[in-house]
Symmetry: C2
Subunit: 337 residues, 2 copies
């Protein structure tokens, strides 16, 4: 029971009175014309000896690890965790394991993560990218490792690379039309530009475009530049004008909504009384805040799952029809508009 030394396929062979080849065949299910007696014998010995095949040795020969490397921008984010959940649901049933690394939204850290995973000889890579130029990802292409990007946008990504995102552009446009229809004349976007690949960027583009088209006034509060006090002060000023010019605050990602709510609480502000509020988010907790916040809900789990499925297909040389996958967001009605 208590095995002191590592036990190898060789010992199993010896004890079972067969050759290593036969054991290897047994392990890999190549039972072509192996006698049932042999099979049983081997099975028995494996149990007795408590034999466990070494993944490293296997990998050295077979050049396939059944490991997928995943790199996210920030693991502490709920979004990332749901992304991962989706990937896992696609990969685990196909018997793939996952190494999860965190790039901390940094270019250098991400490069190191990629390097590490390529050294592990992963069968594929799913990345929520922190670097904005596809050149940065050449090492992956050169290593011939199948690649999928999720959530964020890398310039000049070739069509051979899988890319799964929310319908950021369309959802943002629809949102502006809805706000205009509801009588809002001024949109205050709250964003935070951490990385140049962020999904917030296409959202802001689409909003800018739609606002111009619809004749709405647009302000942008980038929280990368200011602290919470600054946000509070700014919201105070804006809400004062909301009486004349109906105003809606639009938060471009879930974590920002929390900060807006904190500021609003401090100001004793009420939605939609003092201004409208709408946020992109990934989780339905907003339903329980106040009388429910109006949300554009992403589906990170589906994004992750689709990326996993498409990547597996590519690994198996059955690439998806299109590598460009868009996952729809869902408009959750609340009482904050």
């Amino acid at each position: 029971m208590n095995s002191r030394k590592t036990i190898t396929i060789k010992e199993v062979a010896k004890v079972a009175g067969v050759s290593v080849t036969t054991v290897s065949r047994y392990l890999n299910g190549n039972l072509g014309k192996m006698s049932v007696a042999t099979q049983q014998k081997i099975q028995q010995v494996i149990q007795d000896l408590n034999y466990r095949p070494s993944a490293a040795a296997k990998n050295m020969r077979s050049d396939s690890t059944h490991i997928i490397g995943v790199i996210v921008g920030d693991i502490s984010n709920v979004f990332a965790s749901m992304l991962f959940t989706g990937m896992y649901k696609a990969l685990q049933p196909q018997n793939y394991s996952v190494m999860l690394l965190n790039a901390n939204d940094g270019a250098d850290e991400e490069r190191e993560c990629v390097e590490k995973l390529l050294q592990q000889n992963v069968d594929g890579l799913i990345i929520q990218p922190s670097r904005s130029n596809f050149e940065d990802y050449y090492p992956i292409v050169n290593a011939r490792t199948p690649l999928a990007f999720v959530d964020r946008y890398v310039d000049a990504t070739p069509p051979s690379v899988i890319h799964v995102t929310s319908d950021n552009y369309e959802a943002s446009q629809r949102m502006c039309e809805e706000l205009a229809g509801k009588g809002y004349r001024h949109i205050v976007v709250v964003n935070i530009t951490t990385v140049g690949t962020s999904a917030q960027i296409p959202r802001l583009h689409a909003i800018t475009e739609a606002a111009r088209r619809l004749g709405l006034r647009l302000s942008v509060l980038d929280l990368a530049g200011g602290d919470n006090a600054w946000l509070t002060d700014t919201l105070r000023v804006i809400s004062a004008n909301s009486a004349q010019e109906r105003t809606a605050v639009v938060s471009l990602m879930g974590p920002l909504l929390l900060r807006v709510l904190a500021a609003a609480r401090e100001l004793g502000m009420d939605f939609p009384r003092d201004m409208g509020l709408l946020s992109f988010d990934d989780w339905e907790w907003g339903e329980y805040v106040g009388h429910g916040i109006d949300l554009i809900l992403q589906d990170p789990e589906t994004i992750g799952r689709k990326a996993g499925e498409a990547l597996l297909a590519t690994i198996r040389k059955q690439p998806p029809v299109s590598n460009e996958i868009v996952v729809p967001t869902k408009r959750v009605l609340g009482h904050s508009l």
Copy 2:
């Protein structure tokens, strides 16, 4: 640039005009008395050839992978994601990678996860256990793989195994005293028993004990047995009596709080008007619900970090003074009691 075949340490040696030993020494920083010229030459060739050492080959020789295996009960849970975040913060700076697997709160799935990770020859294992008897974990002990349990409880865990949890017992006792002090006479615990290792179990024990001691009436709603409609109905009945006998609902984990809130909303119930509400949770979002929910906040990130640190210490043969680590919870005051 575009390397067709895998390039090995041998090629590097050949091109650099040195032996593989020298290259290996260079790679591992054994620059004992290596001439600077040689070092530069090797460095150059590595770059030119785009050489990447194979982790598998390395592992076969050195018997250390610098990989830690992590198994959680349910990755889609916010708690698990924060646990992981904490572990990562401890492990990544020490240059350890992480393989994250999901046991789906199942004994068999967990066994398979363990098997997979042992085959990968991980340097250590951190598990949020789904099996309640330590015998189930013997394979890990036999493989001499350092082990840490987090969050949940395994019977007969030997002191050689690291164990990091919240202060479940103490926090539950304190809570009961607080409720009694506030005039509550009836406690309704909402729990859901998925696995026999759940931290909810010691919480319930402590509450049971304290309730008896303090003369409080105790009811237990186990949601494993009923659906949301059942919860709603039960709460309706209970709240009707709350006028005579001041009642507090205590949710034993974050996700249950959401279900309680959903039921309460349906009933048009208000806290603390109709009854008191308090919940164990892992995240401060409850602050924004209503006027703020009273919480006993766990610190999963710290739990994960401590487990990672203790595990690393053990791997390095510098085991922590105590393997029994208790992370304090924090009482967050709200307006629901």
